[in-house]
């Protein structure tokens, strides 16, 4: 299984790296040449604009690449190749999911690095200043909140991507013959709305669970919100698993490629 997964991921990377490489180069190059304390010259303004446009382009590209790559490789002509490979559906979905997530992580890192480059240049930072920032970041990992935030950064994008996969796959069944894109978009919003409604219900019910004297004697606001946050994180993880299983089930039992 791992062998197949790694090979599929290799092709996913080959398929997608061209989309991002150039934008990463533009962002990093612009951040090196941007001088925040400049005198507002036209060249500096143009460079700042290029930087901003590149960041915006990157954000849009992540969405477009994730969605378009899945759709074309699974359900358009390329689907005749993808869907006839001797691999299990969960291997196919996992390879696409992991590479999509990889590009999200790399893109976020590129944006963070470029921001740091600009910030350090603005403050004329020395090498020791950079080391101090790294030290503070490492110290932050000892904080409980850090792991909560990290959990969100891992699970929330995975859940979002898997919901896209589920809705795009669900419209390639015998139940949807026309207007697949429109119905897929509608299905995405319907499921998202349903999930947010259920989330609100869970949050309001769980608020009641903390109304005891014990919890009121501690720092109530902090503890209540942290427990609920972990609960929501768990709920997101469950949703991600449900979307994954649902997508695989449709591919294994209900798929129609035309």
């Amino acid at each position: 299984m791992l062998n197949h997964l790694l090979k599929l991921m290799k092709y996913e990377l080959k398929c997608t790296y061209r989309s991002f490489g150039l934008v990463y180069v533009v962002i990093l190059a612009a951040s090196f040449f941007l001088t925040p304390n400049s005198d507002g010259s036209q060249a500096a303004m143009i460079l700042a604009m290029i930087y901003g446009i590149a960041i915006g382009t990157l954000v849009v590209m992540i969405f477009v690449t994730v969605i378009r790559n899945y759709y074309t490789s699974m359900f358009q002509k390329q689907g005749y190749l993808t869907q006839t490979l001797p691999v299990k559906s969960y291997e196919l979905i996992s390879s696409k999911l992991l590479i999509a997530y990889f590009w999200i992580v790399v893109s976020v890192l590129i944006i963070i690095i470029s921001t740091f480059i600009i910030a350090f240049k603005a403050n004329n930072a020395s090498f020791n200043d950079i080391l101090e920032v790294i030290r503070q970041l490492l110290q932050a990992t000892m904080d409980r909140d850090f792991w909560l935030i990290l959990g969100y950064f891992i699970i929330t994008p995975l859940e979002a991507i898997l919901l896209f996969y589920l809705t795009m796959t669900a419209v390639h069944t015998k139940y949807v013959r026309k207007h697949r894109v429109l119905i897929g978009i509608a299905l995405y919003f319907v499921i998202s709305y349903a999930v947010s409604y259920v989330t609100d219900v869970i949050l309001s019910l769980s608020s009641g669970a903390f109304d005891t004297a014990f919890y009121q004697s501690v720092s109530v606001v902090q503890f209540r919100s942290e427990a609920q946050t972990w609960m929501m994180l768990g709920f997101s993880a469950v949703l991600a698993v449900v979307y994954f299983i649902g997508t695989c089930y449709i591919l294994d039992h209900k798929l129609e490629i035309e």
Binding site: K7, S73, K77, Q78, Y80, L85, K88, L255, I257
Partner: protein, 235 residues
Amino acid sequence: MENNEMLLEITGLSKAYGKKIALHNVNLNIHSGQIVGLLGPNGSGKTTLIKVLNGLLKDYDGDVKINGNPIGPKTKSIVSYLPDEPYFADWMHAKDALSLFCDLYEDFDYSRALELMKRFQLTEDMKIKSMSKGMKEKFQLALVMSRKARLIVLDEPIGGVDPAAREVILDTILSNYREDQTILIATHLIADIERIFDSVVFIKEGNVVLDKDVEAIRQESGKSIDELFREEFRC
């Protein structure tokens, strides 16, 4: 040459697209070691049947087994499929497709693929996007015929190519065919291809109307497959 091993077993296969019946109660058994023609006009159900065999259509009634297994990764590992249109991504060079087949199909013969590509005047460095339609089809055929698959499924392999290319494709199929393989060829261009068939299956409006050995047909009717086809499917 047929051997007794049953490779493909289809029982009661039915598939509808809404109200349109694409396949109706298809029963078909194909043994190993044959070249079988799946013949019928456009819209008769040939491609639907082929898609079921390759796992591109999952929601159907009936039972389909290849080498005793239901359609899935096991059957896909022994079925080599040539669709009626090219299926490679535009970013690929020929060597990327070769590498993909090498990585994911254990029965892929890389050196044979290169030989066939050479015969078709194709090189590894060619970008698939820059190939003509005919070149893409030949390239796909080279990949498909370079697998030592038990079942090779060719959907309209000579449709959309010029007569000279058709001869090259048919010769490639015959010269790379192994006696333990079964080749299932779906086509409506009978006259060009009937010389290579061991048996034929006529499919009309989703129903199998004939499933017979070619020699038996010729002896019984005194007609070629093409003549019989024209009679059967006369408008």
